[in-house]
C-alpha cells in the first residue's frame, strides 16, 4: 500500500460485481498498472485487496476517524435502504453495520464520491418495480435528486456525486473518470445534468453505430440477428441514450448494436423500468421513443422519404443475417 497518492476506497452495495469485472478488463497492461500510472492507490477493494476482516475494517475506521485521507469514495451497486430505512438488506459483513450507514459515515470524509454503474448512480436494476429493498442511487433515485446522500450533498471538493452510469460501464469510463479526478482535472462543468462525465455522456450510443446506413434509409431488422436498424422494431434506444459505446470498442471490438441486440439505454436513469426491451413501443405504427431533439413530424416525414429511396442492397441486407447483397461495383471503377 502506498502512503502517498490518490487514495480510493471502493465499496460494493447492492451490486452484481459487474462494474469491477469491467474495470479488470481495462488497459493493455491491466487495470492495476493503469491505476499506478495515475498514482491511484486502492486503499481497499473487496475483490482485489489482500486485507480482509479486521484489517479491512481498520481501513474503514481510520477513514471515518480522519486518520487516513480519502480522496475518492467509490460505490458500486445500489444503496439498499430497506427494510424500513435500516439498510439490513445489505449489511457489511463483520461490522454489524449496514452499507447504508457506512456510506453516510464515509462520504463526508471523501474529496470526491463516485458512483460506478447505474445502480450506484440511479438505483439500477435492484430499484426496479417493486423495489423490494428500497434500493437507491447515491444521489438519485431514477431521475429524482435525493437518493441515499441527499440532493444537496457535495463532497469535500464541492462536487456532486460523479455518476459513471452504465450497466456495466465501459472500463474506460471508470478508469478515465478516476484518472481525471486524481489529476484534479474533473470539474462540475465536466458533468452532465445527471452527474455523468461528459467525455462519454455528450455522445449518443447511436454515434458510430455500424448499422448507420440502415438507419439512414430506415431499413429495419424485423427479427433478432438481422443486420438492419434495430430502432423501428427491436427496441433500440441508441438515438436517445448517452454513451460513446459505438465509438470505442467493448471487449476488443463489440457493442450492443454490433452484437445484434438493441441499446436498452443502460446509462439512463430508470432504464430498469423498461418493458419488452427488445421490442419497439409504437403508437399508430410510429415508434413512441423518437430521437430526443427531432420534431416528430419531421422524423416521420424524413423516414417516409428515406424509406422510399432505400437502395435495394440496403433493403435486402436489413432483413438478412448475412450480407446477401454486397456493394455493387467493388468500390471503384475498373478500367475496361
Amino acid at each position: 500500500m502506498h502512503s502517498s497518492g490518490f487514495n480510493v476506497l471502493w465499496l460494493q452495495g447492492g451490486s452484481c460485481g459487474g462494474c469491477t469485472m469491467a474495470a479488470l478488463e481495462h488497459g493493455a497492461g491491466g487495470w492495476f498498472a493503469a491505476l499506478e500510472t495515475f498514482g491511484i492507490n486502492l486503499l481497499w477493494h473487496p475483490s482485489v485487496s489482500e486485507a480482509t476482516a479486521g484489517d479491512a475494517i481498520a481501513v474503514f475506521d481510520d477513514i471515518a476517524g480522519g486518520r487516513l485521507p480519502l480522496h475518492a469514495l467509490v460505490l458500486e451497486g445500489s444503496v439498499l435502504r430497506g427494510p424500513n430505512g435500516t439498510g439490513r438488506f445489505n449489511m457489511v459483513a463483520g461490522t454489524g453495520r449496514s452499507l447504508f450507514d457506512w456510506i453516510k459515515l464515509l462520504a463526508p470524509r471523501a474529496d470526491y464520491v463516485v458512483a460506478v454503474g447505474s445502480c450506484a448512480a440511479f438505483g439500477g436494476v435492484p430499484a426496479a418495480s417493486t423495489n423490494p429493498t428500497d434500493a437507491s442511487g447515491l444521489q438519485y433515485l431514477d431521475t429524482e435528486l435525493g437518493g441515499a446522500l441527499g440532493a444537496g450533498f457535495r463532497s469535500r471538493r464541492g462536487l456532486p456525486v460523479v455518476n459513471v452510469a452504465g450497466c456495466a460501464p465501459h472500463p474506460g469510463w471508470i478508469m478515465e473518470t478516476l484518472a481525471a479526478l486524481a489529476l484534479g482535472d474533473l470539474a462540475a462543468s465536466d458533468l452532465d445534468m445527471y452527474g455523468r462525465p461528459k467525455f462519454y455522456a455528450d455522445h449518443l450510443a447511436h454515434h458510430g453505430c455500424a448499422r448507420n446506413e440502415f438507419y439512414e434509409f430506415k431499413a429495419s431488422a424485423e427479427a433478432l440477428s438481422e443486420r438492419g436498424c434495430l430502432m423501428e422494431h427491436l427496441g433500440c434506444k441508441a438515438t436517445q441514450a448517452v454513451g460513446d459505446c459505438n465509438q470505442r470498442a467493448w471487449n476488443g471490438g463489440g457493442s450492443c448494436t454490433h452484437g445484434g441486440f438493441a441499446c436498452i439505454a443502460c446509462t439512463s436513469p430508470g432504464f430498469e423500468s423498461g418493458r419488452n426491451y427488445l421490442e419497439t413501443a409504437k403508437l399508430a405504427g410510429i415508434p413512441v421513443g423518437l430521437p430526443l431533439d427531432m420534431p416528430k413530424a419531421w422524423f416521420v416525414a424524413l423516414a417516409a422519404l428515406s424509406k422510399s429511396a432505400t437502395p435495394r442492397r440496403v433493403r435486402a441486407n436489413a432483413t438478412a443475417d448475412h450480407i446477401v447483397a454486397p456493394p455493387a461495383g467493388g468500390g471503384g471503377r475498373r478500367k475496361p
Binding site: M21, L24, E50, S225, L278
Partner: protein, 480 residues
C-alpha cells in the same frame, strides 16, 4: 469455546460473513451468512416474459452469461423451441470463455494472493510466490489481466460486450459470424491456449490433458515452471488436501448442451462410495428454516421468495437447497469427476473433495475449455442462421439448467399471459454456502470448515480463507 466472526470476507464475488465456533484451536461449527439480498425474483414477477433476458443476467457480473443461458433455456423450455445449431455453438463458446475467465480470475486474483501473506515467510517457496502473487502488485497480474481481457474479446465478437449481454436468446445468438470473425475468434482462442501453455502449465495442453493419475501429476510437476506446478508444490507443503474436506454428494447438471450429449456429463456422485447416482431434478427443494425468508412450498417450481428479516432462526438471506433431502457440493470438481476425467477421479478417490482437488479441477477444466472452444468455432456453418425466430408461447412452465463456473445453476420459470408469474433461481453458491436445513444439517461449506485449524490467529486464520475460497463463492448469485 469461543465464537468469532469473519468479515468482510473479501476476494470472493460479493458479500460473505462467516461465524465460527472455535475449540482447542479448531473450528467445531460454522455458520455461513449471505448478508445481501436484492430481490431479483420479486422484481421479475409480473414482468413481460422476455424481460428475464435483460434482468436475470444482472444478478451477477462475474457469471452473467451463465445467468443469460439459464434464462434463455428456461424460456426455450416453455416454448418447446430448438435453437439454431450455430447459436448453440456460439453460446457455448461465449459461456466457456466466461467460465475460463472466471477460473483465471479466481486462481490469480482471489485465491493465490493468500499464499503471499507474511505468515508464510518462513516457507521455502515464499519468495517466489510473494513476488508472483501478492495482491495487485505481484508479477502475475501483468500477464493475467491482459490475457483475461484478450480472452473476453470473444464476447465483443459473439455477444457485443461483457458483462451483461442480450445476445443469448431462446432461438440462438443474435450475431451471425462471418469468415473473418471466425478467424478472429480462432486467433483469440490460440492466444488463450498460448497463455495457458506458457504461463499456467509450462507445457502443451495435450500433455496436461493426458495426465490421468495422481502419480502422473506428481511426475509431471517435478522441476516444472508455471503457476499450476507452483500451486501443486505449495499445496503439498501445506497439505491443502487435508483441509476443507467435503463429504456431501457432488452434482452437475451437465455443461455445454447441444443437440448431442453435453461436453461434460450430468449426474450425482457419492464421494464416500464413489458411486454414481441418477440426477432427479424433481427432488430439489429449498428449505428456508434458517433463511430470512417466509416459509412456503420448497419446490422451486412452486415457491415464491418473500423476505422475512425478523425470522428468529434466520441467519442468512440464502435458502438451503437440498437434493433428495441432502446438501450437495457443486463446481468444477463435481463436473470433472462426474464427467469421469481420470486425473480428477483418481485424486478424488485418494483424498476426497478438498482445497487442493477443487483448485486442480478448475485448472484442468480451463485447459479442456480452451480445446472445446476451438472445436465449436470451427464447427460454425457460416452460411446458416445463428438465431431461430421463436413462436412465442405465453403459457406454461420451464426449467433452465446450466453449469456456471461455480457449479449448477437453475432457473425455474412460470408464464401466464406472456408475463412471469413465478421465477425461482438456485445458484451454485446457494448449494455450496447454504445455511442449515430444518433437520439442522449444515451446508457444504459449513461442513467443510469443521476441523479447520485456526491456531492462535482466530478470525485472521488463513486456513479458513483457503477453505472458503476453494469453493470460489459467488455471493451475489447466492441470495440474488
Amino acid at each position: 469455546m469461543r465464537r468469532i466472526t469473519v468479515g468482510p470476507f473479501n476476494r470472493v464475488e460479493g458479500d460473505l460473513e462467516v461465524k465460527l465456533d472455535i475449540d482447542d484451536g479448531a473450528v467445531v461449527s460454522a455458520q455461513v451468512t449471505a448478508p445481501l439480498y436484492r430481490g431479483f425474483e420479486q422484481i421479475l414477477e409480473g414482468r413481460p416474459a422476455l424481460d428475464a433476458l435483460t434482468l436475470a443476467p444482472r444478478i451477477c457480473g462475474i457469471c452473467s452469461v451463465s445467468q443469460s443461458m439459464a434464462a434463455a433455456a428456461a424460456l426455450r423450455a416453455v416454448e418447446g423451441l430448438a435453437p439454431a445449431e450455430n447459436g448453440t455453438l456460439a453460446a457455448n463458446t461465449a459461456h466457456a470463455a466466461e467460465n475460463a475467465a472466471d477460473h483465471l480470475t479466481h486462481f490469480y486474483i482471489f485465491f493465490m494472493p493468500d499464499f503471499a501473506r507474511d505468515l508464510y515467510r518462513e516457507r521455502s517457496w515464499y519468495g517466489l510466490i510473494a513476488e508472483r502473487f501478492t495482491a495487485m502488485h505481484g508479477a502475475c497480474v501483468a500477464e493475467v489481466l491482459p490475457a483475461r481481457a484478450r480472452l473476453l474479446e470473444i464476447m465483443g465478437i459473439l455477444a457485443g460486450k461483457w458483462p451483461h449481454s442480450l445476445a443469448f436468446q431462446p432461438g440462438g445468438t443474435t450475431r451471425a459470424i462471418d469468415l473473418g470473425e471466425r478467424m478472429r475468434l480462432l486467433a483469440i482462442i490460440a492466444d488463450f491456449r498460448s497463455f495457458l501453455e506458457r504461463v499456467v502449465f509450462d507445457d502443451t495442453l495435450e500433455a496436461v490433458l493426458a495426465l490421468d493419475s495422481a502419480e502422473a501429476l506428481d511426475r509431471w510437476r517435478d522441476g516444472r515452471g508455471g503457476d499450476f506446478a507452483r500451486f501443486l508444490t505449495l499445496a503439498d507443503d501445506l497439505a491443502l488436501d487435508s483441509i476443507g474436506r467435503g463429504s456431501a454428494p457432488l452434482m452437475s447438471y451437465g455443461a455445454y448442451h447441444g443437440n448431442a450429449a453435453p461436453l461434460f456429463a450430468a449426474g450425482v456422485l457419492d464421494v464416500t462410495t464413489m458411486m454414481r447416482e441418477t440426477l432427479d431434478i424433481g427432488t430439489i427443494v429449498e428449505d428456508v428454516s434458517h433463511a430470512w425468508m417466509q416459509s412456503g412450498p420448497g419446490a422451486p417450481a412452486l415457491s415464491e421468495t418473500r423476505p422475512d428479516p425478523e425470522k428468529p432462526d434466520g441467519y442468512s438471506w440464502s435458502k438451503a437447497p437440498r437434493l433428495a433431502g441432502r446438501p450437495v457440493e457443486v463446481g468444477a470438481l463435481a463436473r470433472q469427476v462426474i464427467d469421469g476425467h481420470p486425473l480428477i477421479v483418481d485424486l478424488l478417490r485418494r483424498t476426497g473433495a478438498n482445497v487442493k482437488t477443487r483448485v486442480i479441477a478448475r485448472l484442468i477444466e480451463t485447459a479442456r475449455l480452451a480445446d472445446a472452444m476451438e472445436t465449436w468455432v470451427k464447427a460454425f456453418r457460416l452460411r446458416e442462421p445463428f438465431c431461430h425466430r421463436p413462436a412465442r408461447r405465453a403459457e406454461g412452465a420451464g426449467v433452465g439448467l446450466v453449469e456456471a463456473a461455480r457449479g449448477s445453476l437453475g432457473h425455474w420459470i412460470e408464464l401466464s399471459g406472456d408475463r412471469i408469474r413465478r421465477y425461482q433461481i438456485i445458484a451454485p453458491t446457494t448449494w455450496n454456502f447454504s445455511p442449515r436445513d430444518a433437520s439442522g444439517v449444515p451446508g457444504p461449506l459449513e461442513q467443510a470448515l469443521v476441523g479447520t485449524s485456526v491456531g492462535a490467529e482466530g478470525a485472521a486464520s488463513v486456513a479458513v480463507q483457503h477453505v472458503v475460497r476453494s469453493f470460489d463463492p459467488c455471493m451475489v448469485c447466492t441470495a440474488h
